[in-house]
């Protein structure tokens, strides 16, 4: 039996490899000539994918009751999306551009 299997981390190795692979894809994409906006969106989607894997398998959320997932995750996403509404205004103020009349 391998060292990884005997310590119980063998079952997490596929997730570990996928996380590293996603990261290397991110590095590769960052060296390509994308516009900043496009690059940010692509990298955010990939980061969201890795975070979901980490959340479900490293933090074992997939093994917990669904009620825990439903209590924590939708609320967090909602709060983050609502922040998205507020920050666009703060950037506009930073550049001293008031709302168009």
């Amino acid at each position: 039996m391998s060292a990884a299997a005997s310590t119980g981390i063998a079952k997490y190795l596929p997730v570990y490899v996928v996380l590293l692979a996603i990261f290397f894809v991110e590095v590769f994409l960052s060296l390509r000539n994308f516009s900043t906006g496009t690059l940010v969106v692509i990298l955010l989607l990939l980061a969201g994918g890795s975070a979901s894997l980490g959340l479900m398998y490293f933090m074992h959320l997939a093994e917990e009751r669904r009620s825990l997932f439903l209590t924590l995750i939708p609320v967090t996403i909602f709060v983050l999306l609502m922040m998205n509404m507020i920050w666009s205004d703060s950037v506009r103020l930073l550049h001293m551009r008031p709302f168009p009349q």
Binding site: L44, F58, L72
Partner: protein, 209 residues
């Protein structure tokens, strides 16, 4: 006089052996684990706010500084591999502690702490490199956002290493249980998760061309 023998609901709740009278948790997890989840969610929102601010400023500023040369990219790759690997060793520590293999769990915990400390050292080295190139927290929007976000994360990593040290020492001496190790592990994985957003947004969108 019969009133003296009556026990109120409040007294029942604080009296010994009250656990059986309480409702079962709807999530079927220990309260400390649920508390850690709540902390993680609130911390995720904090990091989310910082990253949203950064994202808007980054996209809205055409003359943004792109200071990261190939050497910095290699350092960031190394740091990321170290942090993801530390999550794997943390999982090993949690699994071994649940299997009552205290010696192996401690070895994994020490490995996780070592990787965390190595990550912090590389991070500080990266900071020093930038400071030598006159990029500081007072040198403009890039410096302000970069040092705030990475500083907040570094603070989490250092706190995590200290927390693992304390939990490991107490678990080793039998004062804490595998459940405590698992809860500390949740925090460590969260620190790893946040880094997965910081790297692409703060480092990879600022590679020098």
């Amino acid at each position: 006089m019969g009133q003296e023998n009556k026990v109120s609901q409040a007294e029942m709740a604080i009296g010994p052996g009250h656990g059986a009278q309480m409702e079962e948790s709807p999530y079927a997890i220990p309260s400390r684990k649920f508390t850690m989840w709540l902390f993680i969610i609130s911390d995720a929102v904090t990091f989310g706010a910082c990253l949203f601010v950064y994202g808007y400023l980054r996209v809205a500023t055409p003359s943004w500084v792109r200071p990261f040369e190939s050497e910095s990219v290699i350092t960031v790759i190394l740091m990321t591999v170290i942090l993801i690997t530390s999550s794997l060793t943390m999982l090993g520590a949690v699994d071994c502690s649940k299997a009552d293999d205290k010696a192996k769990a401690m070895r994994f915990l020490y490995l996780t702490m070592g990787l965390g400390a190595l990550f912090a050292l590389l991070h500080i080295r990266e900071w020093i490199g930038l400071i030598h190139r006159d990029i500081t927290i007072g040198s403009g929007l890039f410096g302000q956002t970069f040092f705030t976000i990475t500083g907040l994360h570094l603070l989490h990593v250092i706190s995590g290493v200290i927390a693992l040290l304390v939990v490991g020492a107490k678990y080793s001496s039998g004062r804490l249980t595998p459940s405590h190790v698992e809860t500390a592990g949740l925090y460590w994985h969260f620190v790893d998760l946040v880094w997965m957003f910081i790297v692409p947004l703060v480092y990879l969108t600022n590679v020098a061309r």
